[in-house]
Each structure stands twice: as structure tokens, then as C-alpha cells.
């Protein structure tokens, strides 16, 4: 068997707890997937849904938002589609430039792209697809920079 980790312990019952903690901490891949899902994916999906309601559907309660989610062991994909006319995401300015830093709005798209591994729009711009990889090396900051 390949050995990622080798410990040699003395015969000392007091050392068991630390050794077990150490091994579990070294297997943080699944912990991290869970935590990215809990945080990055939540924030990203919240952004996509609120944009769909606020801008796409223009607050119109008679309009609907469609959410399609696909989950497997490798990734979570969510597509959020509104009934609006769409927009061109390329025209949205970077909110971290001095000009925009103290703007009240304008950070939604930016956060989606930073927090998720992939963010893509359909041509019309009324449908956004978010991808979070569960097995990726992505840390919180490690999203696509696209």
C-alpha cells in the first residue's frame, strides 16, 4: 500500500487521542468539500437567485425562476434561469477598483466568480450556470478568475 503518512507511536495510551486527531486532520479533503458547499456554494447560489428575481424578473411576482441542480460525487452544478431579457455580464465593472469600492451594489457577479469554480451565462444572459467542484483543490479564494 502507498503510504501517505507514517507514524511510529510509543506504547502510551495518552498518545492515542493526538495521533487520531492528527490523522483525521490530514484527511481534510472531505471536510473542505463540505465547508465549500456550506459557504461558497450557498453564497453563489444566493447571488444568482437574487439577481434573477431583482434584475431578470424585475421584482415581478408573477414571473418565475427556474433552478436546475445536478449533484454527483465530483461536483454540484446549478443553473438559474429567469424570465428577463438578459444582460451582458462583460459590461459589469470590477467592484474592487477604487472607483467602485464604496459602491453599495455591484459585488454579486464578482463574488459568484470568486467563490465558484465555474460561472457561465447563456448568450441571452438570463441563465447562469454555477459549478462547484467537490474534489477540487479550490480553497475559498480558488474559484475561476474568469
Amino acid at each position: 500500500m502507498d503510504k501517505d503518512l507514517i507514524l511510529e507511536l510509543p506504547t502510551d495510551l495518552q498518545s492515542i487521542e493526538d495521533a487520531v486527531d492528527y490523522v483525521v486532520a490530514r484527511c481534510d479533503a472531505c471536510e473542505r468539500a463540505a465547508s465549500r458547499l456550506r459557504f461558497n456554494f450557498r453564497v453563489g447560489l444566493t447571488e444568482a437567485l437574487s439577481n434573477a428575481m431583482l434584475y431578470g424578473n424585475g421584482h415581478d411576482p408573477s414571473k418565475r425562476v427556474m433552478v436546475e441542480v445536478r449533484i454527483n460525487k465530483v461536483m454540484v452544478t446549478a443553473r438559474v434561469t429567469d424570465q428577463g431579457v438578459g444582460f451582458d455580464p462583460a459590461l459589469v465593472p470590477d467592484p474592487t477598483t477604487p472607483d467602485h469600492l464604496s459602491d453599495v451594489g455591484g459585488r454579486g457577479l464578482f463574488l459568484m466568480k470568486k467563490l465558484l469554480d465555474e460561472v457561465s451565462f447563456n448568450d441571452r444572459g438570463n441563465s447562469v450556470t454555477l459549478v462547484l467542484r467537490l474534489d477540487g483543490d479550490g480553497v475559498l479564494e480558488g474559484g475561476a478568475q474568469a
Binding site: 453564497v43 444566493t46 464604496s102
Partner: protein
Amino acid sequence: MGFQVSQSGDVTLVEVEGQLIVGNRQELKQKVLEHLEEGDRKFVIDFSNTGYIDSSGLGVLVSLSKKIREQSGELRLSSLNEDLKTLFELTKLDTLFRIADDKAQALDGF
């Protein structure tokens, strides 16, 4: 889920329980603005019990901070966990706010 408001000396402390997102940010805004109208000038918003914040939550903090500064007051934030801290760093909003490690540090010398 909700906002707990308390006074600590002349500082108004607001604790965000749950999420600060598009669905409830108005409630936070209103609560803080009421206190501002009543004359409060020092505010701490604490995130010890906050799961996540979205961009509109960040926006409301920017907006409140401006309004409070216009009245010569100050808004401080406290107790951001690692995820939340990164959110402020990504958006560079960590340069706009005074961010304390915990409530005590935020209140200290306010």
C-alpha cells in the same frame, strides 16, 4: 434567524443570527437607522453567529457605514470567521471597515 440589538455603554451592538442576505438586509438596515435617528453614534455589528453574507448584505454594511459617518458616527464589525473574512478580503471591503476579532475588542476604547 434575526438581529439582536443591545446597548453596551453608548455603543449599540447588533448581533446577526443566521444569514445576512438579500431577504433580510432591509430589516438590519431599518434597525440600525432607527438607532441612528434616536441619536446613537457608535455601532458594532457582530457576526459570531452568522453563517454567510451575500453581496447585498455587504452592500447594506457599506451603506450603513456611510450614513453613520455622515452623522459623525462610526460602524465597526466584529467576529468574522475565516470564510467571512475572506469575503471582505476578496471584495477589498476589509480596507473600508474597522474589523475587530471579537465583540470585546470592538467595544474596547470605542
